[in-house]
Structures are given as structure tokens and as C-alpha cells.
């Protein structure tokens, strides 16, 4: 009996290894090796032509003193500061739809539509809307407002970019919140209603606390999106400008690697972005683990 158990255990281990191997191999080949490669490259002056020389921490020191990189980090901080809005808005819309507002199914479909469009297509659409001679300014002109260069002025470009990002991603968050809302216990809400709790009270004291795991999940997913998926919008809408007003680390990495032919420096910038992302991933793992225990 004991032998049989041991044999079964070994077989299970082999099967487990067999199942894990493809994912593990993919992770090693496409994630860990490039990460190590990039880390090594970040200590060189690699320029895709000729031999790369070891330059120690020069690229990191340069990045710290690079005003463009500093601006890109500052832009990222501003971007992340909008995260509460990017979480709260879809949550409120999901609650309204869940409450059964007229046309709820229609709104759910319409909200989700932008989520299936690529960022380049979204960018192209809003380029037509937001450019100086675009449809938004034409609309405002009807009411006597002067034209604003939404994408060409430092005071509005990042805000415009954030608004477009919100438009293009909030539909997915609405769906996640709607799924979460189905888990809120109806009997507790009903009991609160019978006890005289008003809509906002039920929302604040029952619904939102019940949605806490969903809110945290959406916050993590939104943060990851803001840090890594803005390239298409930046590329199409503003090209990182005017000046550095919409330059984000991922766009700067692309610029340094490709146009400026400095992959060594780009690798160092990538390491900074990786550290930021690692922090988010760590928070994500902790949140998921805590929620799993709830």
C-alpha cells in the first residue's frame, strides 16, 4: 500500500512537472532570459552597431539626471493620481446599470464597445476629434468658444490623453464591477431597505464594502494598464509632446532604443520601469492572496 502511494506520488509529480513545463519554459525563454539580457545590456553603451562596452552604472546615473526621464516619471505620477477616478466612475455606472436604470443593457454594450478597439484606432478617432481643427473645437465654436489646441498645448495634452484612456478602458471595468455586484448579498440589502436605509446609505455601508476585492482588483489592473498600455495612444495622439508633456517611460524607452539608437540606455530606463511594475505586481499578489483568504 505504501509502495503504491509512493509510486502514485511520483507519477503525480511527473505529471505536474509535465503540465508546468510548457508555461515554465515560455516564462524562462520570453520573460526571464530577456530580463537578464536587458539588465546586462543596461550596463553597456550598446548601440546596435559595433561592440558594446561596459560602462558600469553610467546609464542609471544618466537616467536620474535626464530631465526628459524625470518629466516622464512626473507624468506617470499624474497619470496614477487619476486612478481613483478610473475606478470610481465605472463602479458608479455599473451600480446604476445594476439598479435597473432604463436602457441598462444598451449602456452596458455601448460602454464595452471601446474596450474591443485597439489603442491605435482609438487614437486615430480622437485625433480627428481633438486636433485644433477637429470636431470638438467646431462644436465649441457653435457656443462661441475659441478653439483650444487640446493635443498641442502642455496644459491640456496630458489631460486629453487621460480622458481618452478612460474612455477606452472603463467599459471593461464596468463589466468586472457588474460581475462583482452579482455577489453582493441581496438579503442584506433588502434588510437594510426594510430598516429604512436610503440608496446612498445602502451603497456606502453595504455595496461598496462588499465590492472591496473587486475595487482592489480593478485598481491593480488599471494601474498596470496605465503603466504599460499607453504607448499606442501617446504615439498616435501626441508623439510624447508638446515638449515632454505626454512623454511616458515606455514611450521614452521606445524612442531611445529605436530612433536614438541607444539600447543600452533604453535598457536602463526599462529597469526603472520594471522596478515600478514589480512594486505593482507585489501589491497585486498580496491583494489577491488576502482576498483569497476572505
Amino acid at each position: 500500500m505504501s509502495d503504491a502511494t509512493n509510486i502514485g506520488s511520483k507519477a503525480e509529480k511527473r505529471i505536474a512537472v509535465l503540465f508546468l513545463a510548457p508555461a515554465l519554459l515560455l516564462l524562462i525563454i520570453f520573460r526571464l532570459i530577456p530580463l537578464g539580457w536587458g539588465f546586462g545590456m543596461s550596463f553597456t553603451d550598446a548601440n546596435n552597431a559595433g561592440t558594446a562596452r561596459w560602462v558600469g552604472a553610467d546609464n542609471y546615473l544618466r537616467a536620474v539626471n535626464d530631465p526628459t526621464f524625470q518629466d516622464s516619471v512626473a507624468n506617470t505620477v499624474i497619470l496614477l493620481a487619476t486612478m481613483p477616478m478610473m475606478v470610481m466612475l465605472p463602479m458608479l455606472l455599473a451600480i446604476l446599470i445594476h439598479q435597473g436604470v432604463p436602457g441598462g443593457k444598451f449602456f452596458r454594450a455601448v460602454y464595452f464597445l471601446p474596450a474591443v478597439l485597439s489603442s491605435v484606432i482609438v487614437g486615430a478617432i480622437f485625433n480627428v476629434v481633438l486636433r485644433y481643427d477637429g470636431s470638438l473645437n467646431e462644436f465649441l465654436a457653435v457656443f462661441g468658444f475659441d478653439a483650444v489646441d487640446w493635443l498641442g498645448s502642455s496644459s491640456t495634452a496630458l489631460g486629453a490623453l487621460i480622458a481618452v484612456q478612460l474612455w477606452s478602458t472603463f467599459g471593461m471595468s464596468v463589466l468586472i464591477f457588474m460581475a462583482g455586484l452579482t455577489t453582493v448579498p441581496e438579503d442584506i440589502i433588502e434588510a437594510a431597505r426594510i430598516d429604512g436605509a436610503r440608496f446612498w446609505q445602502r451603497l456606502w455601508f453595504i455595496v461598496i464594502p462588499s465590492l472591496r476585492p473587486i475595487i482592489e482588483f480593478v485598481a491593480v489592473v488599471t494601474t498596470v494598464g496605465l503603466l504599460t498600455n499607453m504607448f499606442g495612444l501617446v504615439y498616435v495622439l501626441t508623439g510624447g509632446g508638446p515638449g515632454t508633456a505626454t512623454t511616458l517611460p515606455e514611450f521614452l524607452i521606445w524612442l531611445e532604443q529605436g530612433k536614438l539608437n541607444r539600447p543600452g540606455y533604453a535598457a536602463a530606463l526599462s529597469m526603472f520601469l520594471f522596478v515600478m511594475m514589480a512594486g505593482v505586481a507585489y501589491a497585486q499578489i498580496r491583494i489577491m492572496k488576502r482576498n483569497a483568504e476572505v
Partner: protein, 406 residues
Amino acid sequence: MKLKLTLTSMLALSAGSALAQDLTVWDWKSGDPATQGYYDSAKQAYEEAHPGATVTFVVQPHDQYYTLLGTAFGSGQGPDVVLLHGGSQTQSRVGALSSLGDAAAGFAGVDAFSVDGTAYAIPLTIQGFVIYYNRALYEAAGLDPDAAPTTWDELATVCEAFIAQDAVPCFAFGNKQGFSGEFFATLATASTFTDADMAAWAAGDLPWTDPKVSAIVTLFADMNARGWLQEGANSTAKFMDEYEMFMRSEAAHTVGLLSDVAHWKQFGEFLGDENLGAFAMPVPGAEVANLPFTGGIGWAVSASSENQEAAQDLVKILTDPTREAIFAFDTGALPANPDVDTSGLSSPTLTHILGLMTAQPAGMAHSVMNPAVLEEWKRQSQLLLGEETSVDDAIAAMEAARLANK
């Protein structure tokens, strides 16, 4: 069985020998229907000269070209032959390119593809900047279309006439990706830089506080402050929103090219040759306005190619008089090969441009700038257009960028 093995081996060997001369070429032009005659002719000529071998042209997106090429060069698995822009785009990559010896001797603009006198690409076209203007709009504004501006003051008079008329902006201007700023670095210096200045500039030794250099910033800001440029330039793409605006007769001038796109042929087809004119950009302090030009695009051989000899043969075919003539006549580009007969390229504007190129030639300052400094100038030019920085601050930022990238 033995016979079968022998035949198989022979077939494999012959295939291997053909494969040894099979070439892969990267560019961003071969997807353009207007260039098909050129590419078909080159492919046919190469494959006739190398029986059994084939050439594969792989078109890459222009805006991602150098990112993709950098990755390919970095891996050592790149194409055999590549199309490159002249200036820093070639000169910063010579470590990944093969020397072409004297194969480029005599070509116009070969300096743009050379480092220390060694050519790393053979030029296909000549590229330069010229101000194109709409003659019909000149007449509508009460200006003489045959008297194009030759001095800064004359240009000011012309632009003031358009501002007074308030129908179209004096200049169509697209600076979304900073290209108008980039072009202006060349326009502002073409008539004032000496050869020594250009050499010092290319080496990064000319400070931005030098009056000849700071003129790039001051003139750019001055043109904006005078209202010569279209509104919303920072959200207008030069390629092709600005040029489409000019072709729709919605602006009097544009800074256009000599080859590729946005040139005399394209504008002439839209506006009519009789409505198109061109002049070199005048700047204050220069007696004559020079026309800046250099090698535009050229063909290079990757150092990692295993077929060096065959690749160099292909580059020679791609730039021989027959092929460059096809390219020039089909696309309107100016050929770099001096043996191409350009007499068939006829347009009053082109004739005038060719005259300027002969009488008042100048170098292209932007094409030899350090790419990182140029990128910073693009940013500063956007801030100047939005009046979000001062001239002094922009000059200080540019000088800091020069020193950081020297």
C-alpha cells in the same frame, strides 16, 4: 538507391549555392505602387546576373523602421541590404554596415553616407528643403507671383500681406512630431553656416549660444510671434496634414522636400504646375538665400550579411543610371547618380530648384546633428510654438542637451 542519394545531394548542393546568393532587402519604399517599376527592374537585373538567386524586398513601416532595424542589427540576423536616410541615421550605424569602397564615388550627396571619407551607402536620391508657394494665392493677395521673396524683409512683406488678407495662413505648419522644428534647424543655418561651421556643428562643438546657431531658436520664435504660422501646428502632422493643407490651397507656403514626398511633382499635380513656385528660405544677415540639400536615401550592405559580394552587386544595380532614372521619373525624386539624364524631368518649379541647387548650394545641418540633441530641439520647438518657453530658456535647454550628448 545510390543514384537517388547522389541526385538528392546534387540538388541540395545546387540549392545551397543558389541560397548563398539569395538576398533579403529591407526598406520602406517597395510597398509604394509608384516604385514598382524600379524594384521590378532591379530584381530582374540582379536575378539575370545571378542565375538561380532571388531577391526579396521586405517593406517595413517607415515610422518603426529604425527600431526594427536596430533590433535586427543587434541580433546579427538582419537583412543583407538596407535602405537608409543620409546623415546621422547612417553615420550612427556604420558599425553595422560594410564599407563600399569607391563604389559611391561621384554620386551627389555621398558625404551624407560617409564617415571619415569612407562611404557606407550609395545614394539613391538627393534630398533638400525648399519653400513652395501657391502662385494663385499670391495673386489673390495682390502679390507678384514672379517676384518670390529673396530676403527676410521681403518674406516679411509677403506674410504681412497674407495676414492682412486674413484668408489663409502664410505657412502651413505641422509640428506634431517636431518635424517642422527639425527642418527649421537646416533652413535657419543654410545661408549662414560656413564649411567650418558645419564641421564644428556636426562634431557637436558649436554652442547654441553662438549667434549663427541661436538664430534657429530666435527666428523660429519670431515667425511664430509674427503670426506667420498656422494655428494648431503642434497638433498638425507635417506628413501629411500640413502638405494636404497646402495642396488644398489653404496656406500660401510650405517647407517641402526635393524627393520622396511633398515635392515639386506631387504639389504640381495637385495645384497645377502653373500655380506652383519655389524659393530658398531667406534669413536675416545673409546676402543670398541658399538651398540646402544632401544625399537623401541610399542603399547599404549589412556587415552581418553572409553574401557580401552579391549584396554589393545588388546595391550597385539599385543605384545604376538605369534604375535611378526609373525611380526619378516614376516618383519625381532627384537622382544622386550623375549619369542619369534628367532632361526629361520637366517643370518650371523643378528648373528653378535645379538652378538654385547649382548656384546656391548648402548643407543640411539637421541631418548631421546628434540625434538626441535633435530630439530635444523638436521638443523645444513645440514649446516655442505654444509660447510655453522663452527664447533664452530654449537656448539654455539646447546647450545643456549639446553638452550632455557631446
